[in-house]
Amino acid sequence: MKRLLILGGGTAGTMVANRLVHELDMAEWQITVVDQDETHYYQPGFLFIPFGTYGKADVMRPKRDYLPREVEVIISEIRVIEPDKNQVQLVKENRTLSYDYLIVTTGSHIVPEETPGLMEDEWRKSIFDFYTPDGAVALHHFLRTWQGGRLVLNVAEMPIKCPVAPLEFLFLADAYFQERDMRDRVELIYATPLPGAFTKPIASQQLGNLLDAKNIKLVTDFNIGSVDNDKKVITSYDEQSVEFDLLVSIPTNMGSEVIERSDMGDDLNFVPTEKHTLKARDYDNVFVLGDATNLPSSKAGSVAHFQVDVFIENFMRYLDGLELLPTFDGHANCFIESGHGKGFLIDFNYDVEPLPGMFPMPGVGPFSLLKESRVNHWGKMMFRWTYWNVLLKGKEMPIPAQMSMAGKWQR
């Protein structure tokens, strides 16, 4: 029997497990998935919890229900990965698992401790995150009785999971306060380390205009150094200060601590990965998918999906002794909620920034690109069903893995 080990049963790990059981001869392969948590979270749903659209139960399902029957699932923390010995040590029962091939899908998570003062007296009193289910629920409780003031949304540093989420949060907040007849009592400020509203110029311009139209103030090049809990001020490394009544923080995002313990990562615990093949740079029988990579692609479910698509084809070649093809192009496809039942759609890769146009999708589309529409909002709301029933299960999605220029307007 050949052994394949998948570390992490989140979005990427679940998708790849479901695809592999169909592609590999399960009489010859044993596949094991290890994860420390029994619950699968629909992470794109966290954004909607503070505004009461979703509750915690709407975004939680048992992991086991979405993993194929043919794979062994072990719920345990991972003590250390030893890629030189082709083995992984688990905390549970001190087990050691050996492997022929390893797939690292350990994801990323927020680390508020990285910013001095962020997790002190005001944490979950006037400082919240919405990247964890508990944080999003706590923020929802706070907002229900908030009388208004200065809401500052701060991104601590890049990269973050879902780089459009901060903008979506602000657009939804603007709509939420309008609906509660208190928009005039709320000042919305976006303090970002980026030089503009988004990472790419054309989208940055378009989304920047929308911030203006919604009266959301943009503070750029703001690299947070510390939080003063008494004065309720965030201060950047170059001594800019922004006062807040409510701070919604997207703290530093890092890869799993087990990557650090195993000495396999960079300074943010992301695993150095070959940009176009998804093989770990330093190991020939290790692949890295989803948020765990150090790649300059977005950390997002759509990206993990496209990665899994190209990985599966490449892995089958690899097992037959053929070389890996450079087929991963950094493709990402994201719906951006813009409030009042409307949304944007952006589609881009390593080389092509988000462009305006129309995005063809058989059956449901077309969706307008980089432009607000109601259809895009419904695309996003339908996506929760699609996520659980199509995407995770590795069924075919009507979007090609590699980005297409079809429908995009070029200058």
């Binding site: 890049m158 790419k200 090049d221 170059d238 300074d267 943010l268 977005s298 881009f348 920034e353």
Partner: protein
């Protein structure tokens, strides 16, 4: 000497296109254009560490790596290379604009 007089090949944003052509004079010229010349000992410590790191890994290090491992902490880096340290360090060290994330 300015980067023009030194005949340095740069891109549209003033970043060197070939790090192997770098010389200490170019670093001083870049620093002058960034308004931080002459470079002091600490600034050189950062630039030298970054060049060494980039040469050995093939990638320009992130600001986080620089502050963690060059021996100069984040706060000080912002004082030495104010307003956009990553960009200023990359220019002085002869590398291209650090790529953000998509």
């Amino acid at each position: 000497m300015t980067t023009k007089e030194l005949n340095v090949a740069v891109d549209a944003e003033g970043f060197m296109t070939d790090p192997s052509q770098w010389t200490p004079e170019i670093a001083e010229a870049m620093a002058a254009e960034e308004g931080i010349a002459p470079l002091n000992e600490k600034q050189w410590q950062v630039i030298n560490w970054v060049r060494q790191e980039a040469a050995s890994t093939g990638e320009f290090p992130s600001l986080r790596s620089i502050s963690k491992r060059s021996g100069v902490d984040t706060k000080e880096i912002y004082e030495l290379f104010p307003k956009g340290p990553a960009k200023k360090i990359a220019r002085c060290a002869g590398y291209q604009k650090p790529k953000g994330c998509i």
